[in-house]
Symmetry: C2
Subunit: 119 residues, 2 copies
């Protein structure tokens, strides 16, 4: 049982759109991910997802609006809601979501990541 330094964990990888596991509790995971550019529209059938911005900012596209979040802000996307994150510049995000959550939700394509690395 030790503390986790989030910035230090972010320094261990550089790829985008590939969440890594930084912690686990109550069947939920804390994942760290770097976004850059546009992701794919998707939703999660059974999982709500929290995006907390550690560094930078990004736009969460929803079907009816765009929500920009910057450092120290978070947004929760409820299950079933279509969303598409877009980051003009690289952004560092801490995710809080069920262990079962797949990054591309209902879509499987070249961006899908399974068997996530533990930092």
């Amino acid at each position: 049982m030790d503390k986790i330094n989030v910035a230090e964990k972010f320094s261990l990888f550089s790829e985008h759109w590939s969440p890594k596991i930084a912690g686990e509790l109550n069947g939920q995971m804390v994942k760290l991910v770097k976004f850059k550019g546009p992701f794919v529209w998707h939703h999660h059938e059974n999982e709500d997802e929290l995006f907390y911005v550690v560094k930078g900012s990004f736009d969460m596209h929803l079907r009816d609006k765009v929500v920009t979040s910057k450092e120290g802000e978070f947004i929760i996307i409820p299950r079933g809601v279509e969303h598409k994150p877009v980051a003009k510049e690289e952004v560092e995000i801490m995710l809080f979501e069920p262990a079962s959550t797949l990054n591309t939700g209902n879509i499987e394509n070249e961006l899908t990541r399974k068997n996530l690395l533990r930092l």
Copy 2:
């Protein structure tokens, strides 16, 4: 569905040891709390707890060691593990834990908080 600015939410209250609800997902809650001074030894029978430091630093006393966490660091306390947070100076903490979690765990005393305010 909108973003939450954590610093802005922290500016809405000043009391210590009284968690407020900032978000909810998957039966879990995001709570914001300010610590100052020593808390009480306790554990949670069925809940793991995550403490993420937004501002300041604090010591988590465990029965066999003390772990100091500062801004941008988090510590997860698994269910059943006795712990006692102590903050020399005021610290701002974001908690992730099940909605059912009581701040004083197995102890009920004057520090116990039920019916948490939603920010």
